[in-house]
């Protein structure tokens, strides 16, 4: 690992101070942001959703034959976004990349929260969410059992597993940090961290076990993450809808997921760095490395898109050709070309190191990539369903205001969850960052906390 990944001028004490401060020192800016995002979440997500619960799915623009719409597109999008967090963190952990250490915690949090938002999107998507538990296998007096042949059922399994795995992973990795914070806080926070840190004392045995379990989980989660988006792709690929029934879908979705997830990390990193004063922890090195990764992913993604077009064309059936034609030149074509611009063309800028190490351009690009990736998911659903086998049944789908509002609201939900997270979890891993620092002199003072609450 390049040694400049390490925040050079920092000491252990600085790390403790900075991170703990990020948890307990809360300015009015934070509260205003939190209030805004909760407000947006309530008005743009929950209010329209409740209206939809009352009225029926008809509140959305879905119709016959386009019975799926933005809710499902959002679902794939959030699942996709979840990908880079934990997956990337695991890969980097196994490959011992040092630059991972400052960013992995928030990346993992992204995973968690995008999964939560994705789960909410499922609730919003189905017609009768009050019976959603019927999709879960549990013994019941009705003797009902879900259908294990259904890719939707695979989804439920894969996503719950992934969510469980990711939760344990982020939690386990945070235990030493909780302990560190526990020792430096007072009042209710202290009590909370006492519980969260599970009595961590930092003995050798504890460290040994943590490392072992952590690595074990990391290895476990990699195939899991890959499988999750493969399975999500099967919701589509196992259908016989032209342009959805494609073998390339699993890798296509996985690559797309990692791609959008990585772009998401860049976005989150930017804001963490800027607004949580982590300039010294999250540096150009991170942006440079993430940029390289993004570049590679964008190339793979582009390649897969070309393959997809080719298979459609080569398949040559009327259905496939029409789906292709419609995607490239039909009603939604502007969206298609927007996606190509944002996800295949614009990322080529990252060939330049100067670009990769410029924060604001990277932020903009990362957001554009995710807009493009959202579009991709929308197109997968929108174009394919409106042009199926029987032309007389063709239709057109345009999202309704309720749907657009819920998309905005779901972003707010994600932000809200993240804002709450940064006040509970040390969003930069204290102990792993410390590992990259020179050992300090043995502590000879009284053992007072380096940092005192200011009140």
């Amino acid at each position: 690992m390049p040694s400049d990944a390490r925040p050079q001028e920092l000491t252990y004490a600085d790390v403790n101070r900075d991170v703990v401060r990020s948890l307990v020192e809360t300015g009015s800016k934070y509260y205003i942001t939190l209030a805004c995002s909760i407000g947006v979440m309530l008005t743009c997500f929950f209010f329209p959703w409740f209206y939809q619960l009352y009225y029926g799915i008809g509140a959305a623009g879905v119709n016959h034959p386009s019975v799926w719409g933005t809710y499902l597109a959002s679902f794939i999008f959030w699942i996709g976004l979840s990908h880079s967090g934990t997956l990337l963190s695991c890969v980097l952990h196994i490959t011992n990349s040092e630059w991972r250490k400052a960013m992995y915690r928030s990346a993992e949090a992204m995973t968690l929260f995008s999964l939560c938002v994705a789960a909410m999107m499922v609730m919003v998507h189905v017609g009768r969410p009050w019976f959603i538990h019927w999709a879960v296998p549990y013994p019941n007096q009705m003797e009902m059992w879900p259908n294990f042949r259904s890719p939707l059922m695979f989804d439920v399994m894969a996503i719950t597993t992934y969510l469980t795995g990711s939760t344990i992973f982020i939690y386990m990795g945070s235990i030493p940090d909780f302990a560190a914070v526990r020792d430096r806080t007072t009042g209710w926070r202290h009590h909370m961290y006492v519980v969260l840190s599970l009595g961590w004392r930092g003995t050798d045995l504890e460290w040994h076990r943590l490392r072992w379990a952590y690595t074990f989980l990391a290895v476990l989660i990699i195939p899991l993450a890959v499988s999750v988006h493969s399975i999500v792709s099967w919701d589509f690929a196992l259908s016989i809808v032209p342009a959805l029934h494609q073998t390339i879908f699993a890798p296509y979705f996985v690559v797309g997921a990692i791609y959008s997830g990585t772009a998401g990390i860049v976005t989150v990193m930017y804001f963490l760095r800027k607004y949580m004063n982590f300039e010294q922890y999250i540096t150009k090195v991170h942006f440079d490395n993430l940029g390289k990764l993004l570049l590679v992913l964008s190339l793979i993604w582009t390649y897969i898109n070309i393959v997809e077009l080719f298979t459609g064309w080569y398949g040559g059936t009327s259905g496939e050709i029409e789906a292709l034609r419609y995607r490239l030149f039909g009603y939604y074509a502007p969206l298609y070309w927007e996606m190509i611009l944002f996800c295949a063309v614009a990322p080529l800028l990252m060939i330049s190191k100067r670009f990769r190490t410029s924060f604001v351009p990277m932020l903009i690009l990362s957001i554009l990539i995710n807009i493009g990736m959202y579009t991709e998911r929308f197109l997968i659903v929108g174009t394919s369903l409106s042009r199926q086998y029987l032309p007389d049944a063709w239709g057109l789908y345009v999202p309704s205001l309720v749907e657009l509002s819920i998309i905005v609201g779901s972003v707010a939900m994600f932000i809200t969850l993240f804002l709450i997270f940064v006040k509970i979890f040390p969003s930069v891993s204290i102990y792993e960052v410390k590992e990259t620092l020179p050992e300090p002199e043995p502590d000879t003072t009284t053992g007072e906390p380096e940092w005192q609450p200011t009140h």
């Binding site: 009225y55 029926g56 799915i57 008809g58 509140a59 623009g61 879905v62 119709n63 016959h64 034959p65 386009s66 019975v67 799926w68 998507h125 189905v126 017609g127 009768r128 969410p129 019976f131 959603i132 019927w134 999709a135 009902m144 059992w145 879900p146 259908n147 042949r149 259904s150 890719p151 939707l152 059922m153 439920v156 919701d235 196992l238 259908s239 016989i240 809808v241 369903l385 199926q388 086998y389 029987l390 032309p391 007389d392 049944a393 239709g395 057109l396 789908y397």
Partner: protein, 254 residues
């Protein structure tokens, strides 16, 4: 190895065409395209029989029509050498139904009579079945529908009214089948050819539709299936439909 052998045997049995021949009945419909005039009587008959709601102009404008059987029409050629062909499209009650595999809660399944049954109470409204159905014959309740009083008095008490969030589709008028089976059972016999006719078949003025049991080789529907004009729509998808179409005869200038 017997576990694997069992598994393979069941698998083969499941995939084997004719798997459903083993069941009591195998309800089948044939549609003679040479007879069908596209008149739409079947549509209204089905609406009347099956409590299909009137959705209103706005809903149809938004693509939310509800007609379990619809008449697709396709133009061929340009004026003056122009032809218009019709095809009634309803649930094909596929023996290898893609809609059944995808439903996470088994709300749609294959019953012992070869019907693709839809359990409204069980449906959670994922709409995946509608995506998976290549015939586009599944209709979703985007909202609750109401009948302007006293139109609700027409509702058929033998058929449930569906609520918002539930998928619905042609049932081959399962309530009529059930009634015919009840009568036959009381009389200690099998249901005979002609005992049961779905509403659409019953009303069709040109007698384009024939309904019956494919397992009974003498039934009229079995005979139409052996007609040289018989084909399945989208046969290449291997859904093994239980609706057989008879090719339209088109002679050139006579």
């Amino acid at each position: 190895m017997s576990f694997i052998d069992d598994f393979l045997a069941s698998w083969r049995e499941y995939r084997e065409p004719g798997y459903y021949d083993g069941f009591d009945y195998h309800w089948t419909m044939s549609v003679d395209l040479d007879r069908c005039t596209g008149c739409g009587a079947c549509i209204t008959a089905c609406q009347a029989e099956n409590n299909i709601p009137i959705v209103g102009e706005d809903a149809i404008a938004r693509g939310r029509e509800m007609q379990w059987i619809r008449i697709e029409k396709y133009w061929e050629g340009e004026f003056p050498d122009v032809k218009l062909r019709f095809i009634p499209m309803l649930c094909q009650h596929c023996d290898a139904a893609p809609c059944e595999t995808v439903c996470p809660v088994s709300a749609t399944y294959h019953n012992q009579d070869g019907l693709n049954a839809q359990v409204y109470n069980r449906c959670i409204g994922t709409r995946s079945c509608a995506v998976y159905c290549p015939y586009e014959v599944r209709y979703f309740n985007y909202n609750n529908h109401h009948w302007d009083a006293p139109l609700e008095q027409q509702l058929n008490p033998d058929v449930s009214v569906r609520e918002k969030g539930v998928m619905e589709k042609c049932s081959f008028c399962i309530q009529r089948i059930r009634q015919a089976k009840d009568v036959a059972k009381d009389e200690g016999r099998r249901v005979q050819d002609g005992d049961v006719q779905p509403a659409c078949v019953q009303t069709c003025p040109t007698e384009a539709l024939v309904f019956g049991d494919q397992n009974d080789p003498d039934s009229r529907v079995s005979q139409t299936m052996n007609d040289e004009r018989a084909y399945h729509v989208l046969e290449e998808l291997n859904t093994a439909p239980s609706v057989v179409y008879l090719r339209k005869v088109e002679t050139d200038a006579v």
